[in-house]
Amino acid sequence: MCCCPATARIPWRPALSFSSSPFVIFLHFLYKIMAVHGPLVKIHPVVLASIVDSYERRNEGASRVIGTLLGTADKHSVEVTNCFSVPHNESEDEVAVDMEFAKNMYELHKKVSPSEVIIGWYATGYDITEHSVLIHEYYSREAPNPIHMTVDTALQSNKMNIRAYVSSQMGVPGKTVGVMFTPLTIKYIYYDTERIGVDLLQRTRASPSRTNGLTTDLAQVASAAGRVQEMLSTMLSYIEDVLSGKVMADNSVGRYLMDLVNKVPKITAEDFESMLNSNINDLLMVTYLANLTQAQIALNEKLVVL
């Protein structure tokens, strides 16, 4: 990738080094136990898929990919809805980020969704390096209090660790001031349609060639019913365990179960019959009409050709 003339050499500022391993371990330990002071980060799955995709397409020799996060922010939470990758060059002592590109892409994205703003940036990889501090500084010029997200695509701990941080000043005022990244809680949120899409995508994991076709209508109803059946059988086995004394009874679970049973509507048999029949009649009538219309246009087609 050629170095664009618009890249800037960010001046190196002293910062606490995070590449020594005990500190990193401490940081990750902190991540698990600390109460987090900072906005809640809500991530949509499309952002993660995009990050993984840009990682897969990275230039040869680049060990990680960085990019901008777009989304909306309010007082207590930050919602990340989109992202794009930014070309950058990283070596031992300097980092070059194509800022022109980032600005350009942001303008283009703004044309489609004017409500999305830059809320931070992401990097693939496990650690936060010194270069991250510099890049973070650049992003603090673009957005107030940007968040930094790391996605571990190298799977160092056998899992794709997705973390988010916000930076804060630390150190002795007046003397060396450093930057600390405090971790934030992450929540995955989905739109309804997104969740349905992800459901389908999950099924590709099952097939060996990682492929999946989209299924037909009745088959979908059957599989949904199958899932509910599974859930019911899990519940039933739990209840039997509790009744036979194998498992301790839990009051909250019991309350949920009672809620569930009460939700089943009590309808008399005749009412249910009449409701069912009228619904079935409606559907059958519509099917008949649809078939009739199709026959009609087929006939019309034939007549015209005569």
């Binding site: 995955y188 389908l200 999946n212």
Partner: protein, 317 residues
């Protein structure tokens, strides 16, 4: 028809685009990027088109597209324009505009497809993403730009042979699989089971209304065609009568010894009526067919669900 591959990123991006920018019956569109591998299409990325707003008169679509593709090329994203996607409202997408756009795409790249994303059907429980391509016969006709009845009759195009559906297969890389696994473990979003919802009247009403509109349009077209046929036959009759009269007059004049009347150009006197273009009728017929198929799929699903509910109720009472 060979199925083509699509990655999970494209699916998620299309869903998000509609969800954020396309509420109501507005249509959102975007471009599909990918590559052709051993004459199999693989769609690997996509980007959305902004909505057309009135205050953006000087917005240049082509420039936006060029800039976007140039930028994406910098980050190694496939920049081959292999198709486009569009959202649809209850299945109404068979229109002249779609035909024209798809024709221009397919003219450039043979394997182009248009992906139709149905958000309303997806919200009912299962992802509805369909891919279509123009049939080769239709491509020929569009190239000639000749939509008269004779040309269409020669090519034997019915409304069923306009668009052919291409099966889609979702293919993910291993890393995406890891991501999906991670998401499943960590996300606490509860399943809402919209697929098992029993209410159907709202959806049926809207679908039937759209169907009625189209059928009205169809009947208008049929009336137009019938009047044209009638005019044509009437004109033929008039031509015959005129010729006969001429013949009679000529024989009379000959018997009287006068020179016969000059032959006049028949065609200039009786100009044939303009044949109505058949393309619109074909499009409407195709759209009506699409509506009917969607309605039938929907009713079959609901009938299944109702029978299930009946079985459950009978079981408990």
């Amino acid at each position: 028809n060979l199925p083509f591959f699509i990655t999970c990123l494209v699916v998620l991006k299309i869903i998000k685009h509609y969800q954020e920018e396309g509420q109501g019956s507005e249509v959102v569109q975007g471009v599909l990027l990918g590559l052709v591998v051993e004459d199999r299409l693989e769609i690997t990325n996509c980007f959305p088109f902004p909505q057309h707003t009135e205050d953006d008169v000087d917005f240049d679509e082509v420039q936006y597209q060029m800039e976007m593709m140039r930028s994406l090329r910098h980050v190694n994203i496939d920049h081959l324009h292999v198709g486009w996607y569009q959202s649809t409202y209850y299945g109404s997408f068979v229109s002249r505009a779609l035909l024209d756009s798809q024709f221009s795409y397919q003219h450039a790249i043979e394997e182009s497809v248009v992906l139709i994303y149905d958000p309303i059907k997806t919200a009912q429980g299962s992802l509805c993403l369909k891919a279509y391509r123009l049939t080769p016969k239709l491509m020929e006709i569009c190239k000639e730009k000749d939509f008269s009845p004779e040309a269409l009759k020669k090519a034997c195009i019915g409304y069923e042979h306009m668009l052919e559906e291409v099966p889609i297969v979702i293919k993910n890389s291993h890393l995406i699989n890891v991501l999906l696994l991670d998401l499943q473990e960590k996300s606490t979003v509860a399943d809402k089971h919209e697929l098992l919802n029993l209410s159907s009247s709202n959806h049926l009403e809207k679908s039937l209304q759209l169907l009625m509109d189209r059928v009205d349009g169809m009947s208008q077209e049929i009336v137009k065609y019938n009047t044209y046929c009638r005019n044509l036959t009437k004109q033929q009759q008039q031509k015959q009568q005129y010729l006969q009269r001429r013949q009679q007059e000529n024989t009379q004049r000959q018997s009287r010894g006068e020179p016969p009347l000059p032959e006049e150009d028949i065609n200039k006197m009786f100009k044939p009526p303009q044949a109505p273009p058949r393309m619109d009728t074909l499009l409407i017929a195709g759209q009506v067919n699409n509506y009917c198929q969607n309605i039938k799929a929907f009713t079959s699903q609901n009938l299944g669900k109702l029978f299930m509910a009946e079985a459950l109720q009978g079981h408990s009472s």
